[in-house]
Amino acid sequence: MNLSLLILIPLLTAILLLLLRNAAQVKWVALAGSALQLILAFVLLYTFHQQRIEGNTAQMLFETTYNWFPSWGISFHLGVDGISVAMILLTAFVVIAGVLVSWNVTKMTKEFFFMLILLSLGAYGFFISLDLFILFFFLEIAVIPKYLLIGIWGSGKKEYSANKLALMLMGGSALVLVGLLGTYFSGGVHSFDLLKLAQLQIPVQTQMICFPLLFVGFGVFTALFPFHTWVPDGHSSAPTAGSMFLAGISMKLGGYGCLRIATFLMPQAAKEYATIIIVLSVIAILYGAFATMMQKDLKYINAYSSISHCGFVLLGIGMLTKTAITGAVLQMVSHGLMTALFFAIIGMIYERTHTRQVREMSGLLKKMPFVITLLFIVGLCSLGLPGLSGFVAEMTVFVGSWQHPDTFSRTATVLACLSIVVTAVYILRAVTKIAMGPLTESFDQLKDAAWNEKLAAIILLAAILAVGLAPNWLINLVSPGAEIIMQKMQ
């Protein structure tokens, strides 16, 4: 399996999109491209699994290296482990769903899908790169599509949100950059290669400087408290597919980076800073949850809840046990799928009712049973109902966190557990208000989901169920990766 296909296919799709003139063609090409991505992701999963079964125990599989700026020690080095494969699958799912729900975009259709595909390109590239430079390259490549998606196709105070998002994310990546440079020079080999750097013992002093830079930098992407404020505004102003991508993929870039780069390369510092990370993530979990409770706009609700949910990712990483890290990755996948579906549904509701204010909606279950049923399911997933992905992820994080016997970690875990009540409160308040109760009269004529929306929702739901009902395949995929990170810790 040649990993560069994962970059090439979105790239070719994007180029092809630029050449097309007709909006209908654009849509189908984008759909075909994203379907191809999904197929490719499955092929990757299969071949990866096959390789593992055959006993290939290398940390990274399918490694490919092309020369690129050799004088800087940069190479186009690609490779995947289970964690990356999981993230790639997530991306593929979200992308195809995102394309499907955007079927009705009429304003600058070509540009819209171009941006979507470009964004997916950035995500794939990020997840498969083993060279810090190209990783950073792909991290930043995704910033502008996000900005334009929000700014051009968004709603509400979109310019403000787009600006805030772009600037804060750039701020995060600026810190990442400095951290990367520090790593680059401290290693003594002047190489950006992740695997080469991993073999070195980076001096603890450098670790103590670079780790916070990297962690906070990536943390901005994944809504680390208090750098999360781009999340609510950004998500709520973005068009549906934009929010899906933002929350489903983009926020995961941060978590992945925290894990793959910060924690993996600098285990000593990770240990030293674990307390702070745990405190911040617990704050994010609870504070995000409580703040969500007070929101009235559906997108804000989901955005704030994302802060809370991404807190679990960081908590898992901060806890530094194999189970917790596995849980963090699971939570990334789960949250990605779930929040993408949530945003897709919010989009569907908004498209019909033209409002996102919870209090203006009531009894919609009567008029659009499909959409609202999914809203229920995704809400339940969000509050961690067994059988859906959220449960698996959260429980793994909890169990992993509990493996620390000290009172501090225990307290943190207990506090984090408490959030599931708050989650239940805000999810149910919103969902029941929208779905149940007497039907608002003005919504008498609403139609249920169209084929594209149904397909998008079902694709995501299938993924959520696949994780929620049979989690072991995913855990077996992910945990060797977590194992390696933990081995470095010793």
Binding site: P232, L385, Q403, C417, A470
Partner: protein, 644 residues
């Protein structure tokens, strides 16, 4: 040996019904869905009985002791070596008993609903939800892994939520389902943390291993669990108490009971199934499941169980005396009866004769399922008939609904503990157990049994006697066969279930326990119970002014009881005023004005700063030159004199 496939079928058939009806019901099975679901469940029930027969009479016993069999164990989610969520089946007396109870009551409800819910718009959805619930409940009772039980625990919670909120366009139903979910969810956090504590203490999540490890004093895990302490209480105690919080939430123990009365917003058959016979006893079941650990290792936690149970039972009984909504009366009575079961467990010890409370509790669980389901379904029939839940709209129905009347009366007698109905036997054992181990609880229990008789017959008389009923509008009889048949079947159950030698099958350590009938001991409770019935008859058989007078004379107390001792208001205050206003609002405010404000302030500050320094770009070329020279000189000074 148990047939794994058959047991799996018991559990999975309702699930199949859910999936099929949930996805295709609205399209293809609009009218047939009830029949489909009922027949699936009938099959399931039959299999459950078959399994029970097999277990109790054929293969269950080895050396006179009922074994815990684990015919199926599938690792569903592996956390770390030794720590995994297994989806498995455990077959032991209580799980088999629960299989029977759940499938049977569920079947009755399914059948009853065929008539009760006829013509409802979302008929298929209703049966789908029932299927989901039954599946979850069955999954719960056979759980072999503590996390598996949590898994189904949550599913049970959500299906309960769905069923309570079945009439989703009614705001009160929406509020009730939300409340039920959130309150139990809150308790579940306790359960979850408890699981974490126990799992860490024992290093496993598997019930059998967990119990084995924690009850044998020589293992390291046991020593560590006892030694590790937090706030002066051992980790194990914490774990069990937390698990009990979860159990208390599901089983509506004080103070987590507030959801149960509101849950009566659901369709009445649902109340019968979930909020009387099955789900609410999940808490009792959970404590029973972990009973060896409770009883052997941490008796203090068990004491807590006993007192919470006893208090809840009394508390609910008092409130039940004042309620006017028949379903609410039944709800409080349920709470009271579950309190009974709880404290029965609480006063029990492990093994042999001392384990009487355990057996009694399970026995009461069993009989209670019969008569409470019967009462609820009867109430359902009444409500179906008069289209109201309020007692004041009823009265004199005995002639109009003879079958209902009769079966309801049997139910009332059973719950009141009048011999020889089922309730009498189970209560008798409970009282005996309490008398043996905890006298104070015994006295409370006696009072409760009188109260029970009183409020049940208050209900009975107000519905079926009291004033004459003047039906208005069309009149559609008692409901068809589908509604009457379950009533009759359950009534038979309520009448005769007491004669089952329960101790032979279910006991704390699996050995045979002979429970005798002690005449002298029964006198007091039966007398109290008859007194209660008598008072109720005096007050409510004929319409008169005495109840009002009585209520007036009790004034404050009556009012407080009528308002359920203002527990709801306290909760309301805590959630709305404290959590929302003191945590949620400040958090949102902090986010908007401080965190976000700081970000915006950075931006604005930069812009403002930029506006202030713009005057340096004055357009005056001479100023530029001065800055130029000043810059050069400044740098020169810096590097010559300061930064060498």
């Amino acid at each position: 040996m148990p047939n794994t496939t058959l047991i799996l079928l018991i559990i999975l058939l309702p699930l199949a019904g859910f999936v099929m009806l949930g996805i295709y019901g609205r399209k293809f099975f609009r009218n047939t869905s009830g029949v489909i679901a009922t027949s699936l469940l009938l099959l399931s029930t039959a299999l459950a009985f078959y399994t029970a027969y097999g277990y109790f009479f054929k293969y269950g016993k080895t050396g006179g002791v009922y074994q815990k069999l684990v015919p199926l164990k599938y690792t569903w989610l592996q956390f770390s070596p030794g720590l995994s969520i297994d989806m498995g089946i455990i077959i032991d007396p209580i799980s088999v008993m629960m299989l029977v109870v759940v499938t049977f009551v569920s079947l009755m409800v399914h059948v009853f609903s065929l008539g009760y819910m006829k013509g409802d718009e979302r008929f298929p959805t209703y049966y789908a939800f029932l299927g989901l619930f039954t599946f979850s409940m069955l999954g719960l009772v056979v759980s072999s892994n503590i996390f598996q039980i949590y898994f189904f625990w949550e599913l049970v919670g959500v299906s309960s939520f769905l069923l309570i909120g079945y009439h989703y366009d009614k705001p009160s139903a929406v509020a009730a389902c939300k409340k039920a979910f959130i309150v139990t969810r809150f308790a579940d956090v306790g359960f979850l943390i408890g699981i974490l504590v126990l799992s860490y203490s024992s290093g496993t999540l598997d019930f059998n291993t967990l119990i084995a490890t924690l009850t044998s004093p020589q293992t390291n895990e046991y020593k560590n669990a006892i030694a590790a302490s937090f706030l002066g209480i051992s980790a194990l105690t914490w774990g069990l108490v937390l698990v009990f919080i979860g159990a208390a939430g599901k089983s509506a123990m004080f103070p987590l009971h507030i959801w149960l009365p509101d849950a009566m917003e659901g369709p009445t058959p649902v109340s019968a199934l979930i909020h009387a016979a099955t789900m609410v006893v999940a808490g009792v079941f959970l404590v029973a499941r972990l009973f060896p650990v409770f009883a052997i290792v941490v008796p203090s936690a068990l004491n807590l169980v006993a007192y919470v149970g006893a208090f809840s039972a009394l508390f609910a009984a008092v409130i039940a005396c004042t309620q006017t909504d028949i379903k609410r009366v039944l709800a409080y009575s349920t709470m009271s009866q579950i309190g009974y079961m709880m404290f029965a467990l609480g006063v029990s010890k492990y093994g042999g004769e001392n384990g009487l409370g355990y057996t009694a509790s399970m026995f009461h669980l069993f009989t209670h399922a019969m008569f409470k389901a019967l009462l609820f379904l009867g109430a359902g029939a009444v409500i179906h008939f008069v289209h109201s839940n309020e007692m004041k709209d009823m009265g004199g129905l005995r002639k109009l609904m003879p079958i209902t009347h009769l079966t309801f009366l049997i139910g009332c007698l059973a719950i009141a503990g009048v011999p020889p109905f089922a309730g009498f036997f189970s209560k008798e054992e409970i009282l005996l157990a309490a008398y043996q181990h905890n006298q104070s609880i015994y006295w409370i229990a006696l009072i409760i049994s009188a109260l029970t008789a009183f409020y049940m017959f208050r209900l009975y008389f107000q519905i079926f006697w009291n004033k004459e009923h003047h039906p208005h509008g069309e009149h559609h009889g008692e409901g068809g066969l589908s509604m009457m048949m379950p009533l009759v079947l359950l009534a038979i159950g309520a009448a005769v279930a007491g004669f089952i030698p329960f101790g032979h099958f279910v006991s704390s350590d699996g050995t045979r326990l002979d429970t005798g009938f002690h005449l002298q001991f029964s006198i007091a409770p039966v007398a109290l119970c008859l007194a209660g019935i008598f008072i109720a008859m005096r007050l409510y058989k004929k319409q008169n002014a005495m109840p009002q007078k009585l209520a007036a004379s009790l004034k404050g107390f009556y009012k407080a009881a009528y308002h359920k001792f203002y527990i709801d208001e306290v909760y309301h205050f805590i959630t709305k005023k404290i959590i929302f206003n003191l945590i949620g609002r400040p958090a949102a405010w902090f986010d908007k004005y401080i965190v976000d404000g700081l970000v915006n302030a950075t931006g604005n500050g930069t812009e403002d700063f930029s506006a202030t320094i713009k005057k340096f770009q004055s357009g005056k070329v001479q100023s530029y030159a001065i800055y130029f020279l000043a810059g050069a000189i400044g740098l020169a000074l810096l590097f010559i004199y300061i930064w060498k």
